[in-house]
Amino acid sequence: MKRYDLIIVGAGPSGLSAAVEAAKRGLKTVVFDENEKPGGQLFKQIHKFFGSKEHKAKIRGFVIGEQLLKEADEAGVEVVLNATVIGLYQDKEVVVRIGEAVHHYKGDAVIIATGASENMVTFEGWTLPGVIGAGAAQTMMNLHGVKPGNKVLMLGSGNVGLVVSFQLLQCGCEVVALVDAAPKVGGYGVHAAKVARTGVPFYLSHTIVKAEGEECVTGVTIAEVDSHFRFIPGTEKHFDVDTICLAVGLSPMSQLLKMAGCEMEDNPKRGGQVPVCDEYGRTSLAGVFVAGDVSGIEEASSAMIEGRMAGIAAAEYLGYMDKEEMDRNLADLDQALDGLRQGMFAPKNRGKDIETTDEGIPVSKNLLKHGFVADEEIERFPGVTHAKGIHPVMECTQNIPCNPCQDACPKHCIRIGSNITALPAVEEGSECVGCGMCVASCSGQAIFLVDETYEEGYASITIPYEFLPLPVVGEKGDALGRDGSRVCEAQIIGVKSIPAFDKTNLLTMKVPAEYAMRARFYKKG
């Protein structure tokens, strides 16, 4: 039987990362993936990632995917696509369907990096065509260039629901509402804010009563729920939609491990049925490792680090490095992973009610309830200041592990400090030149350049803009507030798109001065 040092199942962020580390140490490594294209979900992630440099922050997911593939290729990893692993048998035998045959392989070590599958919820009509998973929407629009629908209702306010809503808007769909049964927005506030400011209404403490339609979805009714998630009669709201998108969480896809006889546990904190494993992915079966979402739902950024860890642990297991070297390698990765697992959304804070930021500032209640920071709340955050002339306004109000803005400014106007989750603040005495690098580098699209004294009676506001068609200088339209409602007329006075912005265009609009701190989006009139 053909034998490899290391067989990896899944060519997503964690699997490829593991392969790179292992192959670099000399392990004969193969990666099997059932999909036609490698990279897993990275190729559907078109937004810029959070984190810091070592986490590939401000790089778009699909670009990270391309980089990983190149790394794997250079390290000599064999990546086999359209290769469906149908079973993990005794003695680490992996049976793979490739084309019209099944092949048997043995690995001295095996890393399972199969990722996650989507959770679903039930409601009347949930089986109708037009009710789809958020992953399906991403696949259709970002991989196949097909709009998932024209009028869409999104259920789920976690990061997936928020990010996919934004992607739907980007490909030209109308998102009629973002709904979640929870009383608070589950995902990052900045993701919510960039959706809300385009005019998408958020309905927290609401869920779907029924999908309507005979042959396919033609409408949806939602209603408010009480604290026990029971519908409150009389609160029903109807929307005409052709698509209902479900983004209600992920579950580890751990079936191969269960089949192989790994000790498993049901761990709600990790998203469901997961193998019992240590921090480097070692399972109860000697030589079988796990990495990424299959061992607990997190972000692609952490999956990549976990993958590297498992790759290194496998190299040590097979004698390709000694324990000392492994410990040294792992220590660096530990630190990187730890960096990502900080802040309000850290795994340890899941389910907790956080009232104030690390800086002691009360969090925005409006952001949690409606998806945007209210005008009267915004001024209390350290990134929001007033200055003469052009200056950055950073509407970053939650402690999340992300700091590209700090490095983006050539004039060092922005300070986060060594604590990656600290809120960005304006460095006193620094001088903004209005280059816009911070605006384009902010993965949360939460930085704006504001010149409150642009012209007599007028302010200029530079916003990140990732939609088509791109407005042209001189055109007039509406400036929208953080809540997506019209605040005033706006005129486009600048459109800037340079390669360094990586497709985040900078739109500068002129608005009456009194709206300088309220206008945050532009809509063609």
Binding site: T127, A136, T139, N142, G145
Partner: protein, 108 residues
């Protein structure tokens, strides 16, 4: 094809294979070679892939990655083909699936 994204602000103009024609039941439909059958149907606004065996209810795309198997259809005479992961080819014969058959229930 109104459901196609002509140009995407981040991804640009989608890369597609050559244009091909296939049949959906008795109808000629255009799509691009190599894309999933389901994507071509979706682009053409065709939502119903099959009717279920017990309750005869319509189903369509649900997960789009080959897991849920809701999007199965009869393709070139074979039932239960996951259209979301089956590449489109010129001249393919794609039929609505009724239960496990290409024949409507009243003819089964």
């Amino acid at each position: 094809m109104e459901n196609r994204i002509a140009e995407h602000p981040i991804l640009g103009v989608p890369e597609k294979g050559r244009k091909v024609t296939f049949t959906y039941n008795d109808r000629q439909v255009e799509g691009y070679e190599g894309e999933p059958i389901a994507a071509a149907l979706k682009a053409a606004g065709l939502m119903v892939h099959r009717y279920t065996k017990k309750e005869h209810k319509p189903r369509g795309i649900f997960c789009a990655i080959g897991r849920c198997t809701d999007c199965v259809m009869v393709v070139d005479g074979k039932p239960n083909i996951r259209t979301c992961v089956t590449p489109l080819k010129e001249g393919m014969k794609v039929q609505t699936q009724y239960g496990v058959s290409g024949k409507p229930f009243e003819e089964q």
